[in-house]
Symmetry: C2
Subunit: 624 residues, 2 copies
Amino acid sequence: MKHNYLDNIPLEEAKEKFFSLIKNNFKHSSEIIPTAEAAGRVITEAAYAQICSPHYNASAMDGIAVSAKDTYGASESTPTILSPDRYTVVDTGDSIPDDKDAVIMVEDISFEPEGRVKIISSVHPFQNVRQIGEDICMGDMIAPSFTVITPPLCGAMLAGGITKVPVIKRPSVAIIPTGDEIVPPTENPEKGQIIEFNSSIFSGMLKEWGAEPKIYPIIPDKKELLKEKIKDASEKHDAVLILAGSSAGRDDYTCEIIKELGSVCVHGIAIKPGKPAVLGKIGKAPVVGLPGYPVSAIVVMREIVKDMIVFLSQGKIKEEEKITALLGKRIVSSLKYREYVRVTVGKIGENYVAVPLPRGAGIVTSFTKADGIITVPQNCEGIEQGEDVEVTLISSHKDITSSIIVTGSHDPIIDEINDILKIKGYPYSVSSSHVGSMGALNAVKMKQAHLGGTHMLDTQTGEYNKSYIEKYLDSKDATLIKGIGRIQGLMVQKGNPKKIHTFNDIVGHRYANRQLGSGTRILFDYLLKKHCIDKADIDGYGNEEFTHTAVAAQIAGGNADCGLGIYSAAQMYGLDFIEITVEEYDFIVNNDFIGTPMYNAFTEIFRSDELKKRMKKMGGYCFE
Amino acid sequence: MKHNYLDNIPLEEAKEKFFSLIKNNFKHSSEIIPTAEAAGRVITEAAYAQICSPHYNASAMDGIAVSAKDTYGASESTPTILSPDRYTVVDTGDSIPDDKDAVIMVEDISFEPEGRVKIISSVHPFQNVRQIGEDICMGDMIAPSFTVITPPLCGAMLAGGITKVPVIKRPSVAIIPTGDEIVPPTENPEKGQIIEFNSSIFSGMLKEWGAEPKIYPIIPDKKELLKEKIKDASEKHDAVLILAGSSAGRDDYTCEIIKELGSVCVHGIAIKPGKPAVLGKIGKAPVVGLPGYPVSAIVVMREIVKDMIVFLSQGKIKEEEKITALLGKRIVSSLKYREYVRVTVGKIGENYVAVPLPRGAGIVTSFTKADGIITVPQNCEGIEQGEDVEVTLISSHKDITSSIIVTGSHDPIIDEINDILKIKGYPYSVSSSHVGSMGALNAVKMKQAHLGGTHMLDTQTGEYNKSYIEKYLDSKDATLIKGIGRIQGLMVQKGNPKKIHTFNDIVGHRYANRQLGSGTRILFDYLLKKHCIDKADIDGYGNEEFTHTAVAAQIAGGNADCGLGIYSAAQMYGLDFIEITVEEYDFIVNNDFIGTPMYNAFTEIFRSDELKKRMKKMGGYCFE
């Protein structure tokens, strides 16, 4: 079992090395295309107008073309009458006859008998005439080399008689997925098969950036085969991306192969995620070995490959907006790396609040949920909650300000509400984080959420939520809004092979627990106490999941035998269910949020028949 | 000659009418496509995960899979030795065997004889294991209805076992150019023929916004034919744009036809440019009659058609950034309209300065040169110089801050410098406005430009530029930088048919003049005085052009017989040239700008052999 250690080169240095390698002796390849189809492309040489625009004296109005000197002296009191040979009817854009030099607009003339017209004011030469070259003069440079052709520029070049333009060829980029365990997208993967979705992510990103991706079939971990394909790709394409195999593990050949076929300038960058990237060149083609974890690879794509495409295409990519936000949760970071942390961003009152998402390199949903990215510099240990952070926005500013921030206990109805909002055409969306019921209290208290779901049992009174709110929150700040009843119970494998019928039966079986602070955990701990069970006797007590479906997934997947959760989750996974109680799932709402259009939309959907219909279908909910 | 008057409906009201018309009974049409190719599209229904991701317990590291309880108690001082049957070598992503539940990373083990391994720390269950559903749990909503599929979302859906998705069909938009005088793009249009470039502009804009344009052949002004084509287009496409014919002139049938085939809700909007737009609907297809002038039509595209495409596609278009800038030149506006003024924007010192571009509706280059747009509200008479204005940026922030603002007398070398900057790969560009030599003085004085070209003759001393600078500028603020010598002379038609040989010969012929404040005008007025010619005797004295090439274009096009200008312009237009003088074309430079990287780049190119080579080719320049 061999093991190579990676470098840890700072990003700027890595990029400098890489770009000086690929810029060396580089020439953009070009093609000539019709100007009319060239919008979005980049010209390789300056465009000079071939003709003037207008290329003749054109009427700027609907009216009559006249010789200006025939009109001198005309006024309301002493109108001038023009005989038919002294004027020509013209529409906007029509050519002015050679013996005429001005236009009187239709509103300012009146027709007299025998085709004569009466005019009541004079015009000067070239009045209401678009003179030759008014917009563009022949010989003028319309655009310098390497200009991105915007749609108006496309029009200007055509107006200047340029019907064909030399443009940079769109960079063609090969994407080579590798790995014995990798399979094409499927609905039924077998155990150990990893669905190859990275190539679709990168191909989408490349298209957004103006490149043309070409996805190769998956190559198994056979060095010679892989080498052959990489060589082929480097000859046929302007750049090559190799997916996975960039690390230093058993089957990671990428670096070796690039070295053999060309040169490697960087293997290992001081960024997290994204460290095990390989940067090199084969022939004239830049080659990047991307890490296998999607989140790591996306970071390398954004931080390095994007600039590579900009260099290859000379195109422009819209810059991402940056805003300042309050950090909603402490970030601890390593001194060794620059770290990229995905965050959700919401506007609560006057502040933008950024809340870090799960940081695992395999959590691709952290990118689908992210509104932006925070960069924690190398040599920085982290950032404290409440500090100002700069967020590079992925979502638009508009998305963020129209986002209802729901932080707390998870229930699928939150997602359903979001869906119904969209279907009904509301300009709002729901951004939800699953941090448990106590998390809802905290988030609303810290003004980091508009509202949050909560279902906390007061074990003294048997009442839900009320006493917690009273204890932790000021009634000036937050209000408890009545939600729904939910059936909680024990989920067990289909057919109940372990014969778990009462709560006491869980002892001796593997249990999937929920995280501290969640309502379900409070209920579980209460039930343990009530049944006089010691938590040390629960196998799996320390293994925490964050949602009902995650618990159900552990049981369905054989990682656990039982777990506490809601009926709808058991239903979804085809698990058996032993009902324990009906709990109250309510909302804690930030008082500032109540009465806003977003709040009204949320509550309207929450009370809607459409939502009730969906809840009935999911099962396990009670409402009046 | 019929004439219909247009409405003057405020934009918001017009849009409200239009969108309530088109939203009525509307249903998006959808298609099912492979998820792998769906990035950029919009899903029509919520996407729920079909499988968990990971769908099995996967190793998160390269290392060995073990049963956690076999490792309890292992430490540096009391290492544990595992026999080969107690561990399995795993790479990242490999499935964990059913009898194992944790992974020890390769760095933390050492191999012993007979395949045993030594471990020096314990792991807990599921440590270094990506548990089933870590990223996505089956049944979870991955995205609600009408979500734009980003590349990461594309990956997340595939990870969740969703291999096909229903998406909204890209709106297909018919573009119908109309008009007897309109011809397809050509290098050699005849007089009166208008090159049809609007369809390329709009097709480019539609593509940027995610629609699929379909350009129809040009339809002449024959009502029945046009009606037939519009009907056809409204049946085959999701929306129809009719180019020109939206006004109230002789041949403007658009409004009538839409009324006959469907309904019109707006004809005439209180915006400038863009007023004569028609908004309506035929069948289920929204139909927009665009004004014929490109600038007017672009404004209508941006203000109305863009939102129409967003509605049809449910897509997202990146919002344009807004910045606050100082207005560089007074804008006078009509109370009747909301006016859209194209501006260049530069960063001079700490301030952004916005300078209005020519406002003619036919000046398509005002859009190619524009960095942004200022909106002057209806009921506002205008905005004073120096006031703060909000600019909606067309260029990026980066473009603006890397733009060298050159305001003053025009010379083609400014454009050539820009081109060479681009070719040499400098990250800067030149943004130039042609406002004459006095304009350069003013712009540098008011800190609205980094520098400007100037060639002003002091008629007292015979010296160029120096005395003007001394008189108008403080040497603390600006410096005169030596430029080049330029040959000025009289341009006359090829073969000199009017036999103009000396300056005095211009009397009695049509003259093309330059604008007040330009160096050439100063020279001309000086020459008139010197030759004792009264300006009243100059035919065309009041007809001002803004560049040398514009003067040349008037002479070449027969609008004038002669004009003062530089040799290179005469050369370009094949005109004869009578040399008058060699003038000094220098640069006035804002002192704050001197020594900056942008200044250094500009002067480096200005002194370069490459530029000298180009100037020699153009002819008429003298330099040491």
